[in-house]
Amino acid sequence: MTLRPALKPQRHPAVKANRRPGPRPSRRPARRPAVKRHRRGTDRRPRFAIAVTAAFFALLYLPIGVVVLFSFNSQKSLTVFKDFSLRWYSAFFKDDVLLESLGMSLRVSLVAMAGSLILGVALALGLVRCRSRLGSLAGLVMLVPLITPEIVTGVAAMLLFKGFGVTLSTGTVMLAEITFSISYVTVILRSRIAALNPEVEEAAMDLGATRWQALRLVTLPALLPSILASAVLVFALVFDDFVLAYFTTGVDPQPLSVRIYSAIRFGVQPTINAVGTLMLAGSIGLIALALAIPRLFGRRGGLDLLSGK
């Protein structure tokens, strides 16, 4: 700032040239140069907004930090940190019930990922490319889980299974989670498919490919980064999902998140800190992966998670 020469109020050269006879114009400029007031419109640092942001970040990470910190506590307390210890982690790895739940959650997430990808990719392709009444109807159906509170879909799925006399089990959780995840896959892929250039596919067909071959050899490879990103995302979402799993799970084994729910309802259980820390690390790793995938493929915007589209 100090390096800049001081700005002198200048008059436009044209003004000097066309000066008409008459009263001398005032030497003082009509208003102070705008330069002094602000350099660029938004350049002023909004101190208030920045302070709120800092406080927000502190409060956002404080609970997570507490869980991680006290998972390494040697004591049962959640207020006093005594010594570093891995005792709650070893307690988790010795707990057969929790390990069984972990295995079930992993299986459910894998199946939901595979199922929702197959149905969701096909649905997204159809929705973008097909302009018919059925298409707009399918588009509406697909949006329903996104505009319904999860407890409603949970209650509804539970009633459906029970109404048809299906015993709630791992299978019912898988079916419910697939239904729920299709929407995510479709929403993520829709904008990517719409951004593809259909002429490339048409060129492939001009060169003798069938429509199916063009889809398989041209379109799907172009979509691969987005598909992988949404796969990772669905895996993480299903693994962490609690409400739907809670309403559709049977007695044994229960998904890990449902176990956590029953554990924290009945007071402090330090093992939960260890499980929670492992789950946090897992989801954060997966989401980071999902965000990084488009970049790994040298492309941007494979996952429109951040642009809010």
Partner: protein
């Protein structure tokens, strides 16, 4: 976000893209059938069972019975519904007030850290909801870090409580869903033409006037989308009230959960679910009407 309709481009009626229409239709069918079979059918089932009854053994029976619908006028349910609505609306408001400066600071002053900062907000949000809520309840607990700090600076007495009060429930809801407010606001602020703010300042608007008369109206759509996205899950949540509220802070989600698990009165639970959906539907209609009006004005 997903709620907005994309403008449709016209498709050629002949040529290669038209010839594949059948393939596209076939691709669409399995997913649509699946969603209809599992989702739409089950939602209809809930709506039907709301008119059902329970037999003496507690098993649900379908029928045409208005007992459960009539029960919705029970003052006890009305109190819970109003409390849920009040908590959800207050959550919305707090989210808006907190999220706006955050989104503003990041979108307009984040510089090259913009994406990193937004990722830092989104990533923990994808971590397990229960674990986050559990950590938050530890932070807010009577001898937790937050109250310790507040006591140290004299903002709280020794007997101030956050947990087991309505404030605790709202704090939980805000923590759980604020990201749904930040993302659409961030998107709207990022998309906004910065020269509008410059123009406001050039016209000698102070920072506050520029904000209220330029920035805020320009990003109203994002704010409204955020409100809907926060209101929907906040209304249905039952974890926050369970972990951070007392017995007199239960929300409609807790009632529904109770009717399905402890009370075993599924028809009544279904009726409560439909009641909640009806309330949310009215809110959604208002939102849709507003956005449609905005779009009509924008295209005029």
């Amino acid at each position: 976000m997903a709620l907005r309709k994309r403008p449709e481009e016209p498709r050629p009626r002949s040529g290669p893209s038209a010839s594949g229409t059948r393939l596209w239709t076939w691709l669409m069918i399995p997913g649509t059938l699946w969603m209809t079979g599992f989702l739409i059918a089950s939602l209809l089932l809930v709506a039907t069972l709301a008119f059902g009854t329970t037999d003496p053994l507690g098993n649900p029976r379908f029928g045409l019975n208005f007992e459960n619908i009539a029960a919705m006028t029970d003052p006890a349910y009305r109190a819970v519904l109003l409390r849920s609505l009040g908590y959800a609306l207050l959550t919305c408001l707090i989210c808006l007030v907190v999220a706006y400066p955050v989104a503003y600071a990041i979108a307009l002053h984040g510089g090259r850290f913009k994406n990193l900062l937004i990722a830092a907000i989104v990533v923990p949000f994808f971590a397990n909801y229960l674990v986050r809520m559990y950590g938050w309840s530890v932070v807010l607990s009577d001898d937790g870090p937050l109250l310790k700090v507040l006591r140290a600076v004299g903002l709280a007495d020794s007997d101030t409580k956050i947990l087991q009060t309505g404030m605790g429930v709202i704090a939980g809801l805000v923590y759980g869903f604020i990201v749904f407010m930040i993302i659409p606001l961030y998107a709207a602020l990022e998309r906004m033409d910065v020269s509008l703010i410059e123009a406001g300042r050039d016209l000698y608007g102070g920072p506050l006037r520029t904000f209220f008369f330029v920035t805020l109206p320009a990003t109203r759509q994002g704010a409204m989308a955020g409100c809907v996205l926060v209101l929907l899950p906040a209304m249905g949540d039952f974890v926050s009230a369970q972990l951070m509220g007392g017995p007199d802070q239960i929300m409609i989600g807790n009632l529904i959960q109770d009717k399905f698990f402890q009370g075993q009165n599924w028809p009544l639970g279904s009726a409560l679910t439909m009641l909640m959906m009806a309330v949310l539907f009215i809110g959604m209609l208002g939102y849709l009407r507003r956005t449609r009006k905005d779009e009509a004005e924008a295209t005029r």
